[in-house]
């Protein structure tokens, strides 16, 4: 499912989907210029996590303020998908409720 805007009256979107990252274990393609959020949305994924009460959370303010899009990246919780660029081989997971911090033994 491709949800990218192909033509826009003012903006141009450059680059090819050359980056591979993993969302909940599934390999996905992204442009080098994508944030985690834009890459997920381009891949048809709108639910980035769940609250402790089981409500869905996703893209909201888009500027790193609202904490709605928090995901777990390579084991580190509370990463804001909207302002973090996607990287080759990155492992992104949905965050459920508050994040559990990492320490050595767990890594």
């Amino acid at each position: 499912m491709d949800r990218r805007i192909k033509s826009h009256p003012i903006l141009e979107f450059e680059g090819e989907e050359t980056v591979t990252f993993y969302f909940e274990g599934t390999p996905l393609r992204a442009k080098p210029s994508d944030t985690i959020a834009s890459a997920l949305i381009a891949n048809g994924i709108d639910i980035f996590g769940w609250t402790e009460k089981g409500r869905a959370r996703g893209f909201f303010c888009a500027i790193g303020k609202c904490s709605s899009c928090l995901v777990v990246v390579n084991g580190t919780p509370n990463i804001r998908a909207c302002i973090t660029k996607v990287k080759e081989g990155m492992k992104v997971e949905r965050q459920i409720g508050r994040g559990m911090p990492l320490w050595e033994e767990k890594q």
Binding site: P77, N78, R98, G99, M100, P101, L102, W103, E104
Partner: protein, 380 residues
């Protein structure tokens, strides 16, 4: 003119605890005067730790009584204050500190406090998220803990109000009327009030309030800063503190990590601005000892004032020079945790003339004249 038996200056945890305990003893002609709002001073800005591991024996006794009262706070005041007996981990990073801790634990155990001494290896096993490098030893007391200071302050205020105490906020006391060596009343921004007893629980401003009655309260206020991080899952039940490492850290019920340190270069005076230097030095130090903090973002920082006494112990009692002038000040950064026991003791002293549950005579202002001063070392 309205008349009260006791007027309390300061609507922090100390003032409201005294008001609550006075009302509980049956004295309802009590008023609290708060210049700003409830918990606007040091109470609402503090770390919220509740600790019994002190270096001075009398402080251990006082703190143990406080913990007893915190344990039944919800029952007494009808208010959930997020009280949690998750323990308190005291960390020593120098040999001198470790020796001091061992001596303290011996004394604390004599007082009936259950304190463990932990090697760095034991600390690591229990709490793998702590970097135990350079740690010499730690002591741990499970019945220590923490609570939400705002809720505790409001808990006492609401409970006191229900019992008939008047609580005036945004009401500043301008002067204390003393005639022939006795307190007659107060002048405030909301009018004059007659009373027999005035209690100085003004925290950072205790010295200024003392002057109104002509009593010199030997306290000095110093700024201390704290910052708080975003929320994490509940995994850090205890409060960790180090005196030689100069820090304390705890997790709130909501999951945020709260931490602070003292600054030896801080100038005296009431200053509640924040600095970048604090953020930098604190976060550098804390990410070394608690490496998981490296990926945790800071939400905000704030400052409050310690009201320091010359020996870092509170000054509590009733004046022998001005009849009816009592004080509970100079808590030196541990007023929140002592508030229940001190409020109870001072209320007993005012109503009955002597304390029943815990002796606070060692906290009287006389000690500075007599020179009987034991400096409390366990403060950040």
């Amino acid at each position: 003119m309205k008349e009260y038996r006791v007027c309390i200056i300061g609507g922090g945890i100390i003032g409201t605890s005294i008001a609550f305990h006075l009302a509980k003893l049956g004295e309802r002609r009590v008023a609290v005067f708060e210049r700003s709002y409830i918990s606007s001073g040091a109470t609402g800005r503090c770390g919220g730790g509740i600790r019994q591991q002190w270096s001075a024996r009398m402080n251990v006794r006082l703190a143990m009584r406080s913990v007893k009262l915190f344990e039944r706070f919800e029952k007494d005041a009808g208010f959930d204050i997020e009280y949690r007996q998750g323990g308190y981990l005291l960390m020593a990073f120098t040999e001198e500190e470790a020796e001091r801790f061992e001596r303290n634990v011996k004394m604390q155990r004599e007082e009936g406090l259950d304190v463990e001494i932990l090697s760095p290896k034991m600390v690591k096993e229990r709490y793998p998220f702590i970097n135990t490098e350079n740690l010499i030893l730690a002591t741990f007391c499970q019945t220590d803990g923490h609570a939400n200071p705002h809720l505790a302050n409001f808990g006492y205020a609401f409970a006191a109000r229900r019992l008939g105490v008047d609580i005036y906020t945004h009401a500043e006391v301008k002067d204390i009327i003393v005639q022939n060596g006795s307190v007659m009343g107060i002048e405030s921004s909301i009018g004059s009030f007659k009373c027999d007893v005035v209690v100085n629980a003004a925290g950072a401003w205790s010295k200024e309030v003392g002057k109104m009655a002509g009593i010199d309260i030997p306290t000095t206020s110093y700024r201390h800063q704290i910052f708080v991080t975003e929320s994490l899952r509940d995994f850090f039940p205890f409060m960790a503190i180090s005196f030689d490492g100069n820090f304390y850290i705890r997790q709130t019920k909501h999951g945020q990590m709260i931490m602070g340190q003292g600054d030896p270069n801080e100038k005296p005076g009431v200053n509640r601005n924040v600095t970048y230097e604090f953020l930098k030095s604190m976060s550098e130090k804390m990410t070394k000892i608690f490496p998981f903090l490296e990926n945790v973002r800071i939400l905000r920082q704030w400052a409050g004032c310690y009201n320091m006494s010359p020996d870092a112990q509170p000054i509590v009692g009733c004046s022998k020079k001005v009849n009816g002038f009592c004080y509970a000040a100079g808590f030196s950064g541990h007023g929140f945790m002592l508030a229940p026991a001190v409020g109870e003791a001072l209320a007993e002293l005012i109503i009955k003339g002597s304390t029943e549950h815990v002796d606070i005579s060692f906290l009287d202002i006389d000690r500075f004249e007599k020179g009987e001063v034991e400096i409390e070392g366990n403060v950040v």
